[in-house]
């Protein structure tokens, strides 16, 4: 299976039942181009990138929905101690991700200001 066929298969898997018109609307690509690509016309690199982002977007969305479902279920099924364990692990993962990102620096300065205000 070549890269183009693989990408189109991923689009179909990520968005089952989606029409070509809907793909065109959601990606900003022209309907005629989408039609031709799905008929086997070779896609451009820019079109490949757009479709790839479209697939990734869905992937992330699916993960978010799954996570929300799992959290809802955990509140029903798990005891408080286990929920707290998950809470702490999540909190730690977020803390680590923030430290590794460039954005956290500013956020932390805000926290520092708040802390100093509280101590004053």
């Amino acid at each position: 299976m070549n890269l183009q066929t693989l990408t189109l298969t991923y689009v179909r898997q990520a968005y089952p039942g989606i029409t070509l018109r809907e793909i065109a609307t959601q990606t900003g690509l022209e309907l005629t181009r989408i039609f031709r690509i799905f008929k086997g016309h070779e896609m451009k690199l820019s079109e490949y990138q757009i479709l790839n982002t479209f697939i990734e977007k869905k992937g992330r969305k699916t993960s978010v929905i799954k996570l929300q479902r799992l959290l809802d279920e955990s509140l029903e099924v798990l005891d408080d101690k286990t929920i707290n364990e998950i809470f702490l692990v999540l909190e730690r993962k977020i803390q680590t991700a923030k430290i590794k990102s460039n954005h956290y620096y500013l956020e932390s300065q805000e926290t520092q200001k708040e802390q100093l205000c509280l101590m004053a």
Binding site: V89, R92, I99, Y104, Y105, Q112, Q115
Partner: protein, 161 residues
């Protein structure tokens, strides 16, 4: 309540425990990426665990009794251990065959169990002795070895799940 420290923050505190340092010295001693180091320092400042005097960072000794008790609370120590074990596992899976982490399920007879436990006690005594040796100023905090050892029966593990 500080909600524990990440491994990045821990290494900075351990480095500053030896002596106060400037940013570049901290970078050399911890080998942390500069962005991560800057963010961690800022985070530690916000938590009032460290202080900065001109461009030198040091531990906030004034509030040490507060932050030390918190970061060494059982739950925060457990989180730190979890983080270390998780990283060790990732490292071991990435570089299979190396000595990062070895796990074996094995049936051990009574006499062999006595030998195994004696060997583990020897390892423990050896490591404890290493900890007592004085560090030289040139030894980097990031070069410290993290050693894990121990054993448990399947049954003991199952009870903890």
């Amino acid at each position: 309540m500080f909600n524990g420290l990440t491994i990045f923050e821990r290494i900075i505190i351990e480095s500053l425990e030896k002596r106060e340092k400037k940013f570049e010295d901290l970078h050399n001693d911890t080998c942390l990426q500069k962005t991560i180091l800057a963010n961690s320092l800022n985070y530690l400042l916000a938590k009032t665990i460290i202080v900065v005097n001109k461009d030198t960072y040091g531990l906030n000794m004034k509030y040490k009794h507060l932050w030390q008790a918190d970061i060494n609370s059982p739950i925060n120590v457990e989180l730190e251990l979890q983080e270390i074990l998780e990283s060790l596992l990732k490292l071991a899976l990435k570089h299979q065959g190396k000595d990062h982490l070895k796990i074996k399920k094995v049936t051990v007879g009574e006499s062999d169990r006595i030998i195994l436990k004696a060997m583990l006690r020897n390892v423990e005594a050896f490591i404890n002795n290493l900890g007592k040796k004085k560090q030289t100023r040139l030894e980097k905090t990031s070069d410290q070895q993290i050693v894990v050892w121990g054993l448990a029966t399947y049954n003991e593990l199952l009870k903890e799940i």
